[in-house]
């Protein structure tokens, strides 16, 4: 079947195709690319260049809010030294949220793909339903759920399972919020890769002397790795840069790097260059981590 697909795909690279045809086709391709390229150019590349320039600017002493063009790498030094704990917290909380989301999402996606039967569509709607309300609103809802007077805290209190007596305004609430908010991004790719897996391949595991758990460990899980990879990236990357969950659910002290960037941009006079430097540092750090992660767990060779 792969041979068939190859044959079907080949005409596109046929070297003897008539030249005018090719020319026309390539023009069409550029035309189709144009809106996307323009959009990215104007709203992504240009602001990025602008941000890079700001991250190296210096401010006029005595005139907060005014900067001159410069190559002030001190901004980066201060971003890394003053805010190292914030970076660490961001990656820790995002990492924990990713792990938790994976633990919750995998069984859910597995059930949807293999066990749900006619309930599958309903489950899918439930997973996607939160997107019908705004991100901020949902996070506010969590501040209600986890509030000191809320039923969660009270129940835990009664059971003496909550030594601190509080969830809201703690890192626990932040990680819980991050986990909840990015859960669909973990569920959907895993579901997609499990759903695509040939059930006969999983049966083959059983046929070849692997019991249920071994088949899962040696066949099902590896086959769903592309989905797991996509899901963890889609969860970790936005979670690491998020500031809303910390803002609404987190403690007053011990913020994440997203909050620092937000404050530097909006609350602290003259904070633009440092905020820009922080943004770039965050971006570079995430890129580096993603690169290493994909290098280690990448599964491009999978069908």
């Amino acid at each position: 079947m792969s041979a068939l697909a190859q044959v079907a795909g080949d005409p596109a690279v046929d070297p003897v195709a008539p030249a005018p045809e090719t020319q026309k086709r390539s023009w069409t391709a550029y035309l189709l690319l144009l809106p996307g390229v323009l959009w990215l150019g104007v709203f992504f590349i240009l602001p990025l260049v602008q941000l890079a320039s700001v991250s190296l600017q210096s401010r006029y002493p005595g005139f907060p809010g005014y900067y001159y063009r410069d190559l002030n790498f001190q901004n980066y030094v201060s971003a890394l030294t003053d805010y190292a704990p914030h970076f660490a917290r961001s990656f820790l909380y995002a990492g924990l949220a990713t792990l938790l989301a994976f633990v919750v999402a995998y069984p859910l996606a597995y059930a949807m793909a293999f066990k749900a039967g006619r309930w599958r569509n309903l489950m899918m709607i439930c997973v996607v339903a939160p997107f019908f309300t705004s991100f901020i609103l949902r996070t506010f809802a969590w501040s209600q759920i986890l509030a000191d007077e809320g039923w969660v805290v009270r129940s835990l209190d009664v059971l003496h399972l909550l030594p601190g007596g509080q969830i809201i305004n703690t890192p626990v609430a932040v990680v819980a919020g991050l986990t909840y908010n990015f859960l669909p991004f973990m569920v959907l790719p895993i579901y997609a890769s499990l759903e695509r897996a040939d059930p006969r391949v999983i049966e083959a595991g059983g046929d070849l002397y692997a019991n249920g758990f071994t088949t899962f460990r040696t066949v099902t899980l590896p086959m769903s790795m592309p989905g797991v990879l996509a899901g963890t990236l889609l969860t970790f990357i936005p979670a690491a840069g998020d500031f809303v969950n910390m803002e609404l659910l987190g403690p007053q002290r011990g913020k994440m790097v997203g909050n620092v960037i937000n404050d530097q941009f909006l609350a602290i006079p003259g904070g633009y260059p440092v905020a820009a430097a922080l943004s770039f540092t965050l971006m570079a750090a995430i890129l580096a981590m993603v690169f290493l992660y994909v290098r280690r767990f990448g599964t491009e060779e999978l069908v």
Binding site: M1, D198, V201, A204, G206, D207, Y209, N211, M223, V303
Partner: protein, 365 residues
């Protein structure tokens, strides 16, 4: 391995039935497959042959009945507890593993210390050694098929199940693999159960063929016997071509029955007819019918028809002849003479056959 059932002997299905809701996929089958034989389950899609296979593999459990190998009852046991392996229709190779690891999968699960060398031997057997390091997606359909075979054979199962293993291959490759499969079966001496809808495939490879229809086994036997003497209308039509006509048995003449088929008196050997009175479906295979311009001298078992179509096939010529009954018969004449019988559409011809080659099956079945 916990729960693994070592078993040796013939494969036995005892009154096995499988229902899915209201639908009965397999209807009270009794079957014995002798150890070491090449057995084919032949039937159209939806006849229950794959369900039967899956019950032997343990991928389905029978609604009622038992599945045994020798004295060991396997009913209710899980697939991984059975000394049975399957070559799946779509091959079902593990996409994330190399060919080598695919083949070594079974032995590794059974904690075989020689897993690697056994996998290498199995790949050798199917001539795929040079592809050991590749992933399944990098192989062609025929190559994947060989790997799937090796992955099952490496375990030396008591019974090897093949679910339409050649279905996805082109004709030439299919022919090659038929010979190859037969060679491997002879070499390893395992019981092979081959499910297929391709009657030619079943007949060329299997020692015994069971023809299935609507969840039941219609007839079982050696390919030549099934072809020569079908016992039901379904088998007559499904296994090769048959020229048939419905009629009524009118007399018994010594060893022969005489039937009236659309006004023509035909003879059937008593021993070759499943019914001896009343309605009968008379049949004769295309290659047993002779086409001639003149009425043959020995009277009886000849019918006049009109040629509709002539196809020259090289070794033979195939004729389609419209019969007075309205049916169209097919005749297959070997081109033995240098001068072929020059027949054209529209010509009147006489069809005749040796009464010993005719058969009779129940008309209503």
């Amino acid at each position: 391995m916990a729960g693994f059932r070592e078993a040796r002997g013939d494969l036995l299905l005892e009154s096995v039935t499988k229902s899915f809701g209201d639908f009965t996929a397999v209807d009270d089958i009794d079957l014995t497959v002798p150890r070491g034989s090449f057995f084919a389950l032949l039937g159209p899609s939806g006849c229950g042959k794959t369900t039967t296979l899956r019950m032997v593999a343990g991928l389905e459990q029978p609604t009622t009945g038992r599945v045994k190998i020798g004295e060991t009852d396997l009913t209710g046991s899980r697939p991984y507890e059975r000394p049975v392996n399957t070559v799946f229709q779509s091959y079902a190779l593990f996409p994330h593993l190399t060919i080598r690891d695919n083949v070594a999968f079974g032995p590794k699960r059974r904690k075989d210390k020689d897993a690697a060398s056994r996998a290498a031997d199995a790949l050798e057997l199917v001539q795929m050694t040079q592809f050991a390091g590749r992933k399944p997606a990098q192989l062609s359909g025929g190559q994947q098929q060989r790997v799937a075979l090796a992955r099952a054979l490496v375990n030396h199962p008591e019974v090897l199940l093949l679910d339409e293993p050649l279905g996805a291959l082109d004709l030439k490759l299919r022919r090659e693999m038929q010979v190859e499969l037969k060679r491997i079966q002879t070499e390893v001496g395992l019981t092979f159960i081959h499910v297929t809808h391709d009657q030619e495939e079943a007949m060329t490879m299997a020692d015994t063929v069971a023809v299935m229809n609507k969840g039941r086994i219609e007839q079982m036997g050696a390919p030549a016997a099934l072809y020569d003497l079908p016992r039901t209308r379904f088998v007559a039509n499904f296994l090769g071509q048959a020229n048939t006509g419905e009629g009524t048995i009118e007399a018994v003449d010594g060893d022969h029955l005489v039937a009236d088929v659309f006004g023509t008196k035909v003879q059937i050997l008593k021993s070759r007819s499943q019914v001896h009175e009343g309605r009968v479906l008379f049949g004769v295979r295309p290659e047993k019918v002779t086409v001639s311009r003149k009425q043959p001298d020995d009277v009886g078992n000849d019918v006049k028809g009109v040629v509709r179509d002539v196809s020259f096939l090289g070794v033979a010529t195939s004729y389609l002849v419209d019969m007075p009954s309205g049916a169209t018969w097919s005749c297959y004449e070997q081109n033995l003479d240098v001068e072929p019988v020059d027949l054209r559409p529209g010509d009147e011809v006489w069809l005749t056959w040796n009464p010993g080659h005719a058969f009779g099956v129940p008309a209503d079945a």
